[in-house]
Symmetry: C2
Subunit: 368 residues, 2 copies
């Protein structure tokens, strides 16, 4: 069966009340759907994206040569089976792929928000999605699934909208962002802020699309380190040198250096730097316990079946951070949860790359 | 007994033939000594420094408020006991604390080398030290000890000057720099190169001493991540916020962010960016096996007792990299070696910080 890929944007004129006390008004949410919504709207699965992801999670547009970021996971016969489920993935607010973010037009002034954009939290991103689903007349879903920042959103759904999803599947995430991950974000943020071409936030986005932003390229290189692992880099690159005669040239390059350069430069042409600052901020301040006395107290609100999947060699969000959620659930005598630590050397990006290691597990969860 | 701290600089007019085929001529080596050389010059211990270290390994100068980088390890009654041993630590060539490096005057042109400085390797750094010791009429030493890049130097001594030291102690190092470490160096190098104040290598060093170099500050932040670990950062900083009311401010800061900012900015005022590029290059191209068919073949040259110390949670040079050296030594039936993996959560910097975890072991090695 066809993926039935569709993209839509919904416009909202009511204010979105943010965790900070500020409001966002009006705002747009862009989303993609795959599969077909059944008559009683009972076959919905929500997918949440990571830091630099978007609503484009699967399928291929005509002008593309790379499919959506979780294409191996969403589709006919795949873990999120579009023959059966209607899958929705929306671009988070604060991002730069259609939903309202710092480079959106600030009503009614006709200029861009830039630094006037309010800090949004993961909880705010989830709230905006909940409002989108209301608009779509979807009030209960089969499951919410996400990895990394997507996994954080899934957990926030579980706590703040406990009756919205039957099942929550959170991969490669954490209950509160730890200083190691904040430090990586800091390197990227500082590299962006210190780049004169960033023009203290008043850059011309069209120029950056052409030329990129070297500060963001540098930051992305640091990001790539955190997404991989010592072992996966060794496997992927070893000590291969680009040109063997250039070993004693100061700017001679190892393969790993070329890889980082290429991906860094590329990234800075397709991702907006202010969106990067705002979304990394949202990740940094993410803490499931905020507003509660303890993580346990936050988790008492959960009614959905909660499934936690970590990856053994994830260096960004360590596997024991997910285990801490499982332990907290056990402490409060919850029984409708599971925790799996996937054997993997790959690093954080395993949730995007090593699908075969957990897709059967996810299928089993969805089949009950 | 007093530390008897002395600093000297030796000037060499003979050419130093480098691994690259290029030569360095003339050159200086600045070094420090602690303790007293005995009459038959049989009580020498050589200490080798890491990337941003210097010859100033112990003791305190009048204008200082922080002692040398291994002060807890070198001194009266300490692991490297200056009541008994005469300890020498020299600044590596390519560095910026007195020995000849890229900002030294290029003879006979009276300008600085800058990019005309040749790429030096760890083997070259060791060769220059060996020539210094010849000048000092020291032809055999009790031990060579170093951590990180200092540990690489110790291993190069073992292979290329097999009769020079009785004992080699290498900590927190590797046999060949792996892509994970190269990637961290890459982030720092790119951050420096892309900073307009670096002026493509033609910066005014006096200006940088005043103002710092934000690109190098960013690079150093990435470095600090690689020196620590997830666990030590969590222990040190947790999720403490600088000002609790600033959580929703885009530029509000976690403690870990302040720490990185402070150390990054500070570093860029006391370390030379071209030296940073050259020394990280030396680390990247470091490979004990170069010039041999295998690591085993390189290690057959070793005659000194070889002692390898790794740290369990070292994320820069993983403990298994040191284990691979031990395994190679076992494969070629060497018996005069030892390998210890220190229980530690701290990360790479454990060799500088958690001295109590290995100083007795080092004392025992030195006492035979």
């Amino acid at each position: 069966m066809s993926l039935n890929l569709q993209t839509h944007t919904e416009h909202f004129t009511n204010p979105l009340y943010l965790e900070s006390g500020r409001i966002l008004e009006p705002y747009d949410i862009t989303y993609e759907t795959y599969g077909t919504l059944n008559d009683d709207k009972s076959n919905v699965i929500v997918v949440c994206h990571a830091l630099t992801g978007s609503h484009h999670a699967a399928g291929l547009y005509e002008d593309e040569n790379k499919p959506g970021w979780w294409d191996g996971f969403i589709g006919s016969g795949k873990a999120l089976n579009t023959d059966k489920y209607f899958v929705i993935c929306s671009n988070v607010i604060g991002s730069c792929f259609g939903s309202t973010g710092p480079m959106s037009t600030r009503h009614p002034y006709h200029d861009e928000y830039r630094y006037k954009f309010p800090v949004v939290s993961i909880k705010d991103m989830v709230k905006a999605q909940r409002i989108l689903f209301d608009r779509l007349d979807i009030h209960r879903v089969e499951a919410i699934v996400g990895g990394s920042m997507g996994g954080m959103q899934a957990l926030q759904f579980a706590i703040h909208y406990p009756n919205f999803a039957k099942k929550i599947i959170s991969l490669a995430a954490t209950h509160a962002t730890q200083p190691w991950a904040i430090a990586f974000n800091k390197v990227a943020q500082e590299a962006i802020l210190k780049d004169p071409d960033f023009k203290q936030g008043y850059y011309d986005p069209e120029v950056l699309k052409e030329q990129g932003l070297s500060g963001m390229a540098v930051g992305r290189m640091a990001g790539h380190i955190s997404f991989l692992s010592h072992e996966s880099m060794r496997e992927k690159f070893g000590r291969e040198y680009k040109r063997t005669d250039g070993l004693y040239e100061l700017f001679g390059k190892f393969q790993v250096e070329s890889y980082l350069e290429y991906n860094g430069a590329n990234f800075s042409k397709w991702f907006d730097p202010l969106a990067y600052l705002y979304i990394t901020k949202a990740i940094n301040i993410y803490d499931l316990s905020r507003g509660f006395d303890t993580l346990e107290e936050a988790l008492t609100r959960v009614t959905a079946d909660l499934h936690l999947i970590s990856f053994k060699n994830d260096l960004l969000f360590k596997n024991f951070e997910m285990k801490e959620i499982a332990d907290a659930l056990a402490n409060i005598k919850k029984t409708n949860f599971s925790y799996m630590d996937v054997e993997s050397d790959y690093g954080h990006d395993a949730f995007l790359v090593e699908l075969e290691k957990f897709d059967t597990y996810v299928k089993d969860i969805l089949n009950g």
